[in-house]
Subunit: 400 residues, 2 copies
């Protein structure tokens, strides 16, 4: 058998992250299969070997694991006990459940960051009205409440203005995580690749902008980030990756404050804030994830360009994402469009645009124009470029 | 149906070119299927929608065409009369048979280049011993004989030293193409993308090096190429693409001579001499081919780097192409490996390595080292880099 020496990677989850791993598998020549939730999930459209099944069902997971050499993930929602059982049955699960639990459970994560001496916002586990009152006495209203598990893209997160609001939610769930509402200057993110042998590679820190809890933009490298802060952030993610023995790529999202930074959350998989690496770094996060989970030497995480920008395409009120290509590609033959094969729903991530160059305002304006035009939001088809002044409304958080 | 607006592209042929089109289809979100010769052809391993069938059988072609919006190609071997029938049946075939015939039939090509006033080597159609004698009288022995149709990678090409040799071959085939043996300084290649609307985009001219009739290396841009020669080459490929109404990407291979250049041959599909564009150009030849056959605005063909190099991985005597990754990736975390999922046979193209940077000798040495180490040819695992002197034996044609 000719391909016998090439390992087989199995991804649990058939979303856009699994989809964007496919080109990296194609280039490396490794076999690649997906356990997808539905037969039309984004990855299933572009991958040869697809199993449709329920990732919460252990026999389904076990049968899938039998067909591959390494298991990895498109999302963090696989039950930890199932992953533990796969490991005990001898399967290579990367990242392993002992690491992944810290991306799955935000209270475990906060506790671990405190142990490691890394910068948390004020936080508390909340299981009673008394806990709420105690936390409010420390930080005041409003503060943030989160479900410790299962949230994403702003789901499972609420801003709490009163005891009653908190208690109302507590009547529905046994446990919540309270966090201070951080007075941040902007949001930052950083990603690392780490292999089982312990090799690590950190990409440049990026500035991100969230719109209604959903990542909308990333700029690499983060503009005007002080070297000492970039070093501290790099050291922090290396500490976390090494201590938790993470395998694969991991993202750390942060709030930048006047004094330094506070950790917001982690993802142990390719991440929206790393999509710029597809066109802007020597090694994309997708190639790096495969190299890392295969325990191959990691690729260079160096940026290829002065400035790289990623802008998400968020669903608007029209469904045809193809027709806008005619204008967008004619308008700017150098933007790189990545679509996910998803149906359009308002606010849903259906793709992203990468752009790169030397002038940050121009690169940003190019990527925003292409992404918004494809989405079909109301956008000037021929904006002034570079924008003569800040394109983002000054009242938005994170305005530049 | 959510994806109804996205066109479906069907590729005839399941080789590495079809395989490397897949990531471009993934990013653009277009549907992509392949008519492959065998169930384990390179593209079938990475593409969701695969039909296995015989491309010389019209009913097979017709049934495949019914499932897609645009037909394109991994190779030039589909019978012209079948393509004509598909066009007459209303299918979009790109490039169309009226253009493709000039890449399929080298005598048609030579005749057309003469008509267009483009630089051919001396050539003649050969159907008799008298033709051989007349051509030998013009250019002397040795000269080149080729089958007008179906040759590739040096197959169907012979160096002829005598009338007897030529007549022996003529006894087997009705028609041959004779060409003078060009005294070239080096080989060059250039590629263009052209869409049905007539938009064109030409990548920089590259220097190529053939080993035993197989492309082994490409350097972009071609070192020390005079501007006026680069302009003449660009004008020539635009003339050909426009006159023949080519759609998709097209490669033109040339011999550089002291005075100028002579056209060697054409391919109307992604081509080995354009693989460097995957990592070295704003738009890869694979993305451009899809944009062109879909009549989307073309992407920028600009080089992203001072120097980009492609070195083919040619099969040697060991079959394990994966184990060498451990050394190659550790040795150089910035080379980009592309494997095709093919079994190893001596001399067979099983993959390539791209590298880029500022110093040509260093970039060349890096790409050669990685490609040769993966192939398993006898190579110093730690060569001096950059090479202190020319790495290629001085006696080889095209030595630099």
């Amino acid at each position: 058998m000719e391909h016998v020496t090439f390992p087989r990677i199995g991804v649990i989850g058939g979303g856009q992250l699994a989809r964007m791993l496919a080109p990296a598998a194609e280039a490396l020549g490794v076999r690649f299969s997906v356990l997808a939730e539905t037969a039309d999930a984004p990855a299933t459209q572009v991958i040869n070997e697809v199993t449709v099944g329920d990732y919460t069902d252990y026999p389904t997971l076990k049968a899938f694991a039998e067909t591959v050499d390494v298991i990895t993930f498109d999302h963090e929602h696989v039950p930890p006990e199932h992953l533990q059982a796969l490991v005990e049955a001898g399967h290579a699960v990367r990242p392993g459940p002992d690491a992944l639990i810290f991306a799955q459970d935000k209270i475990r994560m906060r506790t671990k960051m405190d142990e490691l001496g890394l910068p948390n916002p004020a936080w508390a586990e909340i299981t009673s009205a008394a806990d709420v009152e105690a936390f409010a006495a420390r930080v005041g209203y409003p503060f943030i409440l989160k479900t410790p598990r299962g949230g994403y893209d702003g789901k499972g997160v609420r801003v709490i203005d009163s005891l009653d609001e908190a208690v109302e939610w507590l009547n529905e769930v046994p446990q919540l995580l309270a966090e201070e509402k951080v007075d941040f200057t902007r949001e930052l993110a950083v990603m690392v690749g780490r292999s089982p042998m312990g090799q690590t590679a950190v990409w440049p820190v990026v500035e991100t902008w969230q719109q209604n809890g959903v990542c909308k933009e990333a700029i690499a490298p983060a503009p005007d980030l002080r070297d000492e802060k970039a070093r501290a952030i790099t050291e922090a993610i290396l500490t976390v990756a090494g201590t938790l023995e993470v395998t694969g790529v991991m993202a750390m999202e942060m709030f930048e404050t006047a004094e330094g930074f506070l950790i917001n959350e982690f993802a142990m998989r390719p991440h929206n804030t790393g999509h710029w690496t597809q066109d802007g770094a020597v090694t994309s996060q997708f190639e790096q994830h495969l190299r890392a989970v295969l325990d191959l030497p990691l690729g260079s995480p160096a940026a290829r360009e002065d400035v790289s920008v990623m802008v998400n395409i968020l669903g608007a009120d029209h469904e045809d994402l193809y027709q806008p290509y005619l204008h967008v590609m004619a308008h700017d033959p150098a933007v790189k469009v990545h679509l996910y094969g998803k149906g359009v729903r308002p606010g849903r991530k259906v793709g992203h645009v990468n752009a790169y160059g030397e002038d940050r305002q121009l690169v940003l304006a190019r990527a925003r124009h292409a992404a918004d035009f494809i989405a079909g939001v109301d956008v000037d088809p021929h904006p002034q470029m570079p924008a003569p002044e800040n394109l983002r409304a000054e009242s938005e958080p994170g305005a530049r």
